[in-house]
Symmetry: C2
Subunit: 136 residues, 2 copies
């Protein structure tokens, strides 16, 4: 299967497929006599895995390691579970940070609507944005 066909059937561009080969996320492809990359059917599953793993939030570097351990004949499931759990914890932190920020922005907007631009001094640039640590 040529690279364009893989691209069409996987939804991943040819550029990206070559890039994945470069960084070790895909095996180095075998070549047809003309020098074109020639892929087996299984590459589609591999690419599907990569997409899914990305959707879960794993980086290509992490995915590469998972695939490498798979290729060494190990089931990388424990490692993957750790990765996913860590990502999940990251997400929790991130969500609560954003929640916090969201609340602050909301207060800013409410207050901002009631302020008169005429009252805004040049030194502070804009009085809607409060100084860090000391809301004006």
């Amino acid at each position: 299967m040529r690279i364009g066909t893989v691209a069409d059937r996987s939804g991943v561009t040819a550029k990206t497929i070559r890039y994945y080969e470069d960084i070790g996320v895909l095996d180095v492809a075998s070549r047809s006599p003309n020098g074109y990359r020639d892929y087996p059917e299984e590459v589609l599953q591999r690419l599907a895995f990569v997409r899914s793993a990305q959707a879960v939030g794993l980086t290509l570097a992490e995915i590469r390691k998972v695939i490498a351990s798979r290729e060494k004949g190990q089931a990388p499931c424990d490692h993957v579970l750790t990765l996913v759990e860590r990502r999940s914890a990251d997400l929790d932190r991130r969500i609560s940070e954003l929640h916090q920020l969201r609340g602050e922005l909301d207060a800013l907007v409410k207050r901002g609507r009631s302020l008169n631009p005429e009252d805004c001094s040049a030194a502070q640039v804009c009085h809607i944005i409060p100084s860090v640590g000391s809301p004006s």
Copy 2:
């Protein structure tokens, strides 16, 4: 005031201050006879504004524009309010995306813990990560 003093008093590195000048977030600094940058006291307020605006989620490009309009003698408050409202809406979207993902990861972890690594086929790399669109 020399750049190092500004750095010490603002908590922003000298490197960053020069960078801000490059991209137009700070005015081009006047120079002492020896060629060193020489800052007026007000630069501290300006830097405080930049920090606060960043904390609110504005990019340096947005901040630059806000400051530019301030320097043209306009009160940029309306513009700032628009920016903050947009950012707030972005945040809402982002938070709900993350919430969604969080739920999916949670399900993944739960299911993953009950799966046996031995049952995991090489073709799918790791059965904890489901194929996009068709959880295994």
